[in-house]
């Protein structure tokens, strides 16, 4: 089952912390965002394999944008 992870708010992508194909645990940080002068980790609520990372460092994401897919 694929879990899509979307941005909760407008933010800059500071760092991508996982690569496609990587296995991650539940609560792992996938991407680090910067918004409201805070560094905000995007975590996965499910463990699995990162099927897709839809953002790159330096991108701006808007609320609802796809960040990653974990299967």
């Amino acid at each position: 089952m694929a879990e899509e992870i979307h941005a909760e708010m407008v933010a800059n992508v500071l760092r991508v912390e996982v690569a496609e194909g990587e296995t991650v645990d539940r609560d792992a940080t996938l991407v680090l965002l910067e918004s409201m002068k805070m560094e905000i980790p995007v975590i996965t609520e499910v463990g699995g394999v990162v099927a897709r990372v839809a953002v790159n460092a330096g991108d701006v994401v808007r609320r609802g944008d796809l960040i990653a897919v974990v299967e």
Partner: protein, 480 residues
């Protein structure tokens, strides 16, 4: 359906094994051998009873899903109203177990009228006695608003809450969705916020209802001796960088008392508007409500949904005399067109109103920062906080010092040579913090009472709440 068609003898045999049987369900909720029905068992579609939860008196009712899917008729609604009115008279909590398709079609408008009388009884009881709903199966149409009018809604996996079912939705709007997708625990736990607690199974739903009821029914008293020697640097639970987000829930659990192996914290609506954390637990042996920004989600910003979530919780605590503990670490309100159009002004105003009207003791601890309008909204001194504490190096300001300097000294910064600009910004920020921000200034003007040693956090919070005169708001708990 089958129960109606079955011969009487078989129906009785079914009753003993049918997991939907209301007597069996009430027996699961209430202490062993404590169930005393308010009326003889009948075909009304509801069963009301007295009983106890961990020894505390409660009233309870259960819709009878073995008869017409628990549909609500005149007689059944009368039993429910009696349970609620009795609870108010005797000042004890009332717990409702729901599994009902809504009003009985065969009884027509009379059934609608009766269901409306249940709503009126719930509203009369609102803010006077805790009302807890456990949704075990479908709670459709009129039965959806029953739980929604109460203080807390617990959903079992088979719970389905909706006003109009999938068939009607499809015929009117063309949207195709099943009952679970429309009104299951995921829909109401994550999207609508209707469910305060999503349980693992039916026994877990009853266990959670028992724990929450007990927090209200046996609130305990502050025992400062229990926390006096409890010394632990809780600030070590925060990340080193002040910019780094973290999950506030482990901190909340640690601030509250342990309960057996875990914490006494019962989080409410954990997956809806998760940028604010609300829930009940115990501090120094006394039931308290906790409201905490969660920097892990959206940086801990307040927004439209989180303000509304917190408002209702604050009003519930105030209505039942539950002292409140506010952990503030908030960068501000979330900016955005969708926020403004979604009514962040209207919903944010609810939170200001909820705190400002609260008469129950309520103490705020600023752990890292509190900026702007969100600072005020998190139970600031100006809203009548009982006490406002801060941990060392906490910052209270209209905005972060660097951002403020960028606005206040825009021209000066622009005029400076590029190689000197950053140094100038740093110097101006330091100066700004000294005169306008920082916890020192906040103490000087009296909006922070004291910077407390993080190692004594539990004791200082309990002491401040215990010292304040007990209060209780004289208002209902409208489902905001």
């Amino acid at each position: 359906m089958t129960a109606l068609a079955a011969p009487a003898g078989l129906q009785n045999a079914d009753r003993e094994t049918d997991p939907r049987d209301p007597e069996a369900r009430l027996a699961r909720l209430l202490d062993a051998d404590s169930v005393v029905p308010l009326h003889p068992r009948d075909s009304s579609g509801a069963l009301a009873a007295r009983g106890r939860i961990n020894g505390a008196k409660v009233l309870a009712f259960c819709t009878d899903a073995t008869i017409m899917g628990g549909a609500m008729g005149v007689e059944g609604c009368r039993h429910i109203v009696e349970a609620i009115d009795t609870a108010v008279r005797e000042r004890v909590p009332v717990v409702g177990l729901w599994h009902s398709g809504g009003a009985r079609l065969a009884e027509g408008v009379e059934a609608l009228d009766a269901v409306g009388q249940v709503f009126a009884a719930m509203t009369r009881a609102s803010g006077r006695v805790p009302q807890i709903s456990v949704v075990l199966g479908p709670a459709a149409g009129g039965a959806a608003y029953g739980p929604a009018l109460t203080d807390l809604v617990i959903m079992a996996p088979a719970g389905r809450v909706f006003v109009t079912g999938p068939d009607v939705v499809r015929s009117v709007t063309g949207e195709r969705i099943d009952m679970e997708g429309l009104g299951g625990p995921e829909a109401h736990g994550r999207r609508s916020g209707v469910a305060h607690v999503v349980a693992d199974d039916e026994p877990d739903a009853c266990a959670r209802a028992r724990r929450l009821t007990t927090l209200f029914a046996r609130p305990g008293v502050f025992d400062l001796h229990a926390v006096r020697d409890d010394v632990e640097d809780l600030r070590a639970m925060l990340p080193e960088s002040p910019r780094r987000a973290y999950d506030v829930r482990p901190l909340v659990r640690r601030v509250l008392d342990r309960d057996g192996a875990g914490s006494s914290f019962e989080e409410l609506q954990p997956r809806w508007a998760p940028n604010i954390v609300v829930g009940l637990g115990q501090l120094a042996g006394r039931t308290v409500g906790v409201i905490a920004n969660n920097p892990l989600r959206m940086g801990g910003c307040l927004d439209s949904a989180s303000a509304e979530k917190a408002s209702r919780f604050v009003r519930m605590c105030d209505a039942f005399g539950v002292p409140m503990l506010v952990l503030a670490d908030v960068p501000g309100y979330l900016p955005g067109v969708d926020q403004e159009w979604d009514g962040v002004v209207r919903r944010g105003a609810k939170l200001l109103h909820a705190f400002a009207e609260a008469t129950v003791p309520r103490v705020t601890l600023v752990t890292r920062k509190a900026y702007g309008g969100a600072y005020v909204a998190m139970n600031a001194r100006c809203l009548g906080a009982t006490a406002v504490f801060a941990w060392p190096e906490a910052e209270i300001a209209v905005m972060g010092a660097k951002a403020a300097v960028g606005i206040l000294h825009r021209r000066e910064l622009a005029a400076a040579p590029e190689e000197e600009r950053e140094a100038l910004r740093e110097r101006l920020a330091e100066e700004h913090e000294r005169i306008a921000g920082g916890v020192g200034r906040a103490m000087a003007i009296g909006v922070v009472d004291e910077v407390i040693d993080p190692a004594h956090t539990r004791y200082r919070l309990a002491e401040a709440l215990a010292a304040a005169p007990a209060g209780r708001g004289a208002h209902g708990n409208i489902p905001l």
